[in-house]
Symmetry: C2
Subunit: 288 residues, 2 copies
């Protein structure tokens, strides 16, 4: 797992420009937001899921990098003062604090754009149908019917009182869609047939919710030192969260149940899926 | 041309969601920024260039729509207070003034993402290689080595004193790259071979510069009523522009020369390229 993480970082380093030109500041901010820190959960999922079907190493790494670029762009934009207004991310100043707001917006735009460039490039897969499918599904997961739509709902959640249904839908869009893409990308890269796609989507769905509920719990129970970002913000902002609605105990139980459920979806796979099983448990037990 | 414009607007209307969901405000802002007004220069170029090679109508319209989505996203983000801080665009309040800054940032993000979804979809071309090529080249034109890179340079141009070389490079990235993609996309859609690609890139390059110099002239000479946006801003901001360096007369001569040069690149095409020839003249003579 350590090696895979290093390989993803190496791939990110390779696709991110470091030229010295008048716009160098843009490249620096893109690299700042992407190259250090982060749990690299989404790349891990891409690589492990592709591994189930013997996808090529180069293609999986490029796809893993593309997903991480999208994730990092979303963090930059979500952290902006007019959004969640966060000063700290991964234990360091957020991109707009380290650089400035205009640079941060452009860095996010450029990272998002780069993710599609990486996927569409012939190096990602020798079959252009596969590359198109990756682009199409990443765009759907990241766009207005996915991640961006979820963030839009989240911005209004401070004012409205959401029930469990609305919060679940919001999180399915905001974080779930990209996690689901990460898992399904493995099946796409490996030319897998059903029921593999369905199984990985089911796994990703439950894993994503378990991850988010745990995030909400950490926001209440964690410390800045552990999480590398501000805590207690959701409660202060009066945001509707899983913990706010379910309470801590039921939220913890629910996260654990979802992790079990996620693992059950993997029943059709052999021991090659063991790391995916472990990560489901790890996700609900983590402290950061 | 009126019909083609209407067809592009119809395609944009079709790909932009208008669902009533909690995130409806996002869809409204995306439609607000895209559906009304605008010269639709880039879609025009896509359609006319595809027409040279008998590209399919549906594919050209979808590609034209995709390019316009990218253009509109860039306008939203460029108009933000931390960027160019514009209140007026196409004679109406800019997106962040009509909605709010957070919504405007997300609308831009979602439009950019949607453009790649539109291109990668099988409806755009039956050959996935062609679709991948469109995605790859649009991403390069729009990203850190293209449009976003150019905007990054533009942000620093207020402080630095640029010469004609630096300004030309900045504009080649900021507006030229997307205009070049618009023209080359026609050749890609029509499976054209060289020297067609080279000719259209040459045409686009000169047209893009002519367009930008005229824009600079309009910023100095135009009125708010004519242009639908604030004027005199570049000079007030102390920005380096073509007009600032060349003076009005030489800038006007230069734009006219570039238009002639653009038309010369089209010599290998027959009368099918006549509208492209006309638009080169129109671009340097326009008042808005």
């Amino acid at each position: 797992m350590a090696t895979a993480e290093a390989q993803v970082s190496e791939m990110l380093d390779r696709v991110l420009s470091a030229e010295t030109v008048p716009e160098t500041r843009l490249y620096e901010s893109m690299r700042y937001a992407t190259l250090e820190g982060g749990k690299r959960l989404r790349p891990f999922l891409v690589l492990q899921c592709a591994n189930l079907f013997d996808g090529t190493c180069q293609g999986s790494l490029r796809t893993a990098a593309a997903v991480e670029l999208v994730h990092c762009y979303s963090l930059i934009h979500d952290d902006l003062p007019v959004m969640d207004d966060d000063d700290l991310r991964r234990g360091r100043p957020t991109t707009h604090r380290q650089f400035d707001e205009a640079t941060a917006i452009l860095a996010g735009d450029a990272l998002l754009t780069l993710s599609f460039e990486v996927l569409a490039h012939p190096d990602t897969h020798n079959n252009p149908s596969v590359r198109c499918d990756l682009v199409l599904k990443l765009a759907r997961a990241a766009g207005s019917h996915g991640m961006v739509g979820g963030q839009m709902i989240d911005l209004s959640a401070q004012k409205e009182s959401f029930g469990i249904g609305e919060i679940t839908r919001m999180q399915r869009l905001k974080t779930g869609a990209l996690i689901t893409f990460s898992c399904e990308a493995g099946a796409i890269l490996g030319n897998a047939i059903e029921p593999a796609h369905e199984a990985l989507r089911g796994y990703a769905h439950d894993l994503g919710l378990a991850f988010q509920i745990t995030d909400d719990l950490l926001d209440v129970e964690g410390t800045v030192e552990e999480t590398g970002k501000a805590v207690g913000k959701d409660e202060d902002a009066g945001k509707a969260t899983f913990v706010g609605i379910l309470g801590r105990d039921r939220a913890r139980t629910q996260a654990s149940l979802l992790a079990d459920q996620a693992i059950e979806h993997l029943a059709i796979f052999d021991e090659k899926a063991d790391l995916l099983r472990s990560v489901a448990r790890f996700i609900v037990e983590r402290r950061s």
